[in-house]
Symmetry: C2
Subunit: 141 residues, 2 copies
């Protein structure tokens, strides 16, 4: 049975989930930074997803990317499956701005995470609720 | 008509290409690091690929990842579409080792690229030729 890795649980706010995927918001107010976790136990790599799940996930990931770029009016989008520190397969989806805290570098390891204020967190979650969460219905069974 | 961005041209060795995608090897001997470039002009984001190309690319990317992990006996695989510095859509595929030069951090911005010796380059290209290039025939028209 699928269980979210404790480190992901600690580093994120849960946004929503379906049978297929969990949507998490990283606890770093500097970036609109969503993590998608396919709910398949024991996977560490994107290429380990069975073909139907891979295609379903790729479609969802693209739709989430597009929706986040629209909702947060970004300049650039970064998508990455790294997992060198937290082995459970998870895929970063990050809206970037030409004046953000890490630009033009990748965000990992640049400075320190900024805690969300209650208001900023509410704003961000409400945009995700409106633009991203409805996409969970995509490609369902 | 599709043209490879001059910066990608400068930073990589061409490995192979099809009508659909170019396969490049990054000029950094520290990592088995392949860059896939979908040959569609004017794209900057993965989610801008038309749906059929997105699915075809996702399948190819997963197959390349699996083949690289096998060919280079890696510990972990990193896949990322960043493009904050070179706007042309390109997707990094990197074999990681627990004792590589950047582990466990992402590779970008860690230390300096190491020039390939002729022998090391020949070895790497020959493994790619054998294990990765044949995948270009996947999902063709």
């Amino acid at each position: 049975m699928f269980q979210l890795h404790p480190q992901l649980q600690q580093d994120t706010y849960p946004v929503s989930e379906s049978d297929f995927v969990a949507i998490l918001l990283a606890k770093d107010a500097r970036f609109p930074w969503v993590i998608l976790v396919p709910k398949v136990s024991g996977l560490t790599e994107l290429h380990q997803l069975p073909e139907d799940a891979l295609i379903r996930f790729s479609r969802l990931s693209a739709a989430v990317s597009q929706a986040m770029m629209h909702a947060f009016a970004g300049d650039k989008f970064n998508v990455a499956a790294l997992g060198n520190q937290v082995p459970q397969l998870h895929v970063h989806h990050i809206v970037r701005y030409r004046d953000d805290a890490a630009w033009p570098k990748p965000i990992w390891g640049e400075g320190s995470a900024q805690t969300y204020t209650d208001a900023a967190l509410e704003d961000r979650l409400s945009l995700l609720e409106r633009h991203v969460v409805p996409l969970l219905a995509m490609g369902g069974d």
